[in-house]
């Protein structure tokens, strides 16, 4: 691995679905190792579609995606999926095994871990999200917030270079949201967070990019971006009621 390579490097990524509906129109994005970046944008902006390009689930029509210097191609896709941990919006989509432990082990087994090393990695991942005591429960017996944290463990177990979270705080009550935030803050891993939750982006991500209609329209420090009312309004983003922001902080 090239140690100087950025964690994520997208160049001119364009994509249209087979029905001809074009969603991405040439996205350039560079995320350095250790960065925490929020990807903001209204519904239908192409955020989730872009996320599926980061681990080779969708193949771009044009442009290139590199993860830690490795280009996403058919040959590298196995390694890329280990390097990019993608956490989906609905935990019921992500947690499909009979028990929490089995679910966390799923990805680790797929990358070849077995025996004591596998058990240790599963325990470490569950510990990192504070869910070790629930290891043997079925996922559907957990609360929504707990399921979301298990989802994060299911990708942490593969020791990813980059964590990509699609709407991590949606549907969470305030306490679960805070617990999730504490978990995410404790992780020393490059993260890209797709979110509408602007206060959350401000709290956790020093840098934000704004995607709309398949184009990256802004890339600034989060506070500066959120304080630009005109830009925000133009792209259907609004701070919650009573939330005032100045560039100075």
């Amino acid at each position: 691995m090239d140690v100087r390579a950025p964690a994520l490097e997208l160049r001119g990524v364009a994509f249209a679905y087979p029905d001809g509906n074009q969603v991405l129109y040439g996205v350039d994005l560079r995320v350095e190792v250790g960065e925490r970046v929020a990807m903001l944008g209204p519904n239908g902006a192409g955020k989730s579609t872009l996320a599926l390009h980061l681990n080779g689930i969708l193949e771009q029509g044009a442009g290139s995606v590199r993860v830690s210097g490795v280009e996403v191609t058919k040959d590298t896709v196995g390694e890329i999926r280990r390097r990019v941990g993608l956490v989906f919006q609905d935990p019921d989509d992500q947690l499909f095994m009979p028990s929490v432990r089995d679910d966390v082990a799923f990805g680790a087994i797929n990358v070849g871990l077995r025996g004591a090393e596998l058990d240790r990695r599963v325990d470490d991942a569950l510990n990192a999200v504070g869910m070790l005591e629930h290891a043997d429960r079925p996922p559907h017996h957990l609360s929504f917030g707990q399921r979301r944290r298990v989802c994060i463990a299911t990708v942490l177990v593969m020791r990813p270079d980059v964590l990509v979270l699609d709407e991590p705080t949606s549907n969470l009550d305030p306490a679960s949201r805070r617990e999730l935030t504490e978990v995410l803050e404790s992780l020393a891993v490059t993260t890209l967070r797709i979110t509408h939750d602007l206060p959350y982006a401000l709290q956790l991500c020093p840098r934000s990019v704004l995607l709309d209609e398949g184009v990256l329209v802004a890339d600034r420090p989060t506070r500066v971006l959120l304080a630009d009312e005109e830009l925000m309004r133009a792209h259907r983003l609004e701070l919650p009621y009573g939330f005032e922001l100045t560039v100075a902080g």
């Binding site: 689930i57 196995g78 989509d93 797929n110």
Partner: protein, 240 residues
């Protein structure tokens, strides 16, 4: 019994059932012996007899069919309180009732001491096709998710004033089934994406399983072995 490996229990229950089915129906004493063995299994498993009796209701359609046989079968008849009953029909009814009840009872002991997922793992160890096991385990995992969706849809309909059981309700139900199908299908696609994202390449990861000591097999097979001994005696003893 709860701690026995699932595949051992499956083989033991299946063996017991085959032995029961293979026993000549005229050897009534053998069925009494099987009933004692089945009761021993219930006690050893720490199950309440009432629990088993309640769940035996699943057998009712067969019981109904069996009870009809003495009335509809042909052959020599005997008269009981003035009603002519076919002797062959009575033996047939006894055959179905005794064997079905014993088979259902051991299946219930198996189901009450083994979770659905353990049963699937057991079947997998016994060589059931991997695809079948995958489909069944997804069904177990998502049946609750789907039924929650169905409940939410019902509540939403009731909240908007849907009442009664008329034709209109049936029309609405057809829409519910249609949209539930589409939602489930779409969820299937999303789950597949989530699986691909974690390195899925078409087969589920095989979990290494510890081998089972001979003593465990011996414990699980104590009752089927005794049953087999009864069956052997039943076959070698003349019956009329």
């Amino acid at each position: 019994m709860h701690r026995l490996p699932a595949h051992v229990k499956i083989v033991a229950a299946l063996t017991f059932t085959i032995v029961v089915v293979a026993t000549p129906r005229e050897q009534i004493w053998a069925f009494v012996a099987y009933a004692v063995l089945a009761a021993t299994a219930i006690i050893a498993a720490g199950l309440r007899p009432a629990h088993i009796v309640k769940h035996l209701a699943i057998e009712l359609p067969f019981v109904f069919f069996a009870l009809l046989l003495p009335f509809v079968s042909r052959g020599p008849e005997i008269s009981i309180v003035g009603i002519g009953l076919s002797q062959t029909g009575m033996w047939d009814a006894w055959n179905i009732l005794a064997k079905a009840t014993l088979g259902t009872t051991v299946s219930l002991v198996l189901a009450s001491t083994t979770s659905g997922n353990e049963l699937l793992r057991g079947l997998e160890r016994l060589g059931a096709p991997a695809l079948f096991v995958q489909i069944m385990s997804f069904m177990l995992r998502y049946v609750e998710v789907t039924s929650r969706e169905l409940d939410r849809m019902r509540v939403a309909q009731a909240s908007r004033g849907l009442r009664g059981n008329g034709v209109r309700r049936w029309r609405v139900l057809s829409h519910v089934v249609g949209s539930l199908f589409i939602r489930t299908y779409e969820r299937g696609e999303r789950v597949h994406l989530a699986m691909l994202s974690r390195g899925y390449r078409g087969s589920m990861p095989a979990q290494s399983a510890a081998s089972v000591p001979v003593s465990t097999w011996a414990y699980a097979f104590a009752l089927p072995a005794l049953a087999a001994a009864c069956a052997a005696t039943a076959w070698t003893t003349p019956w009329t």
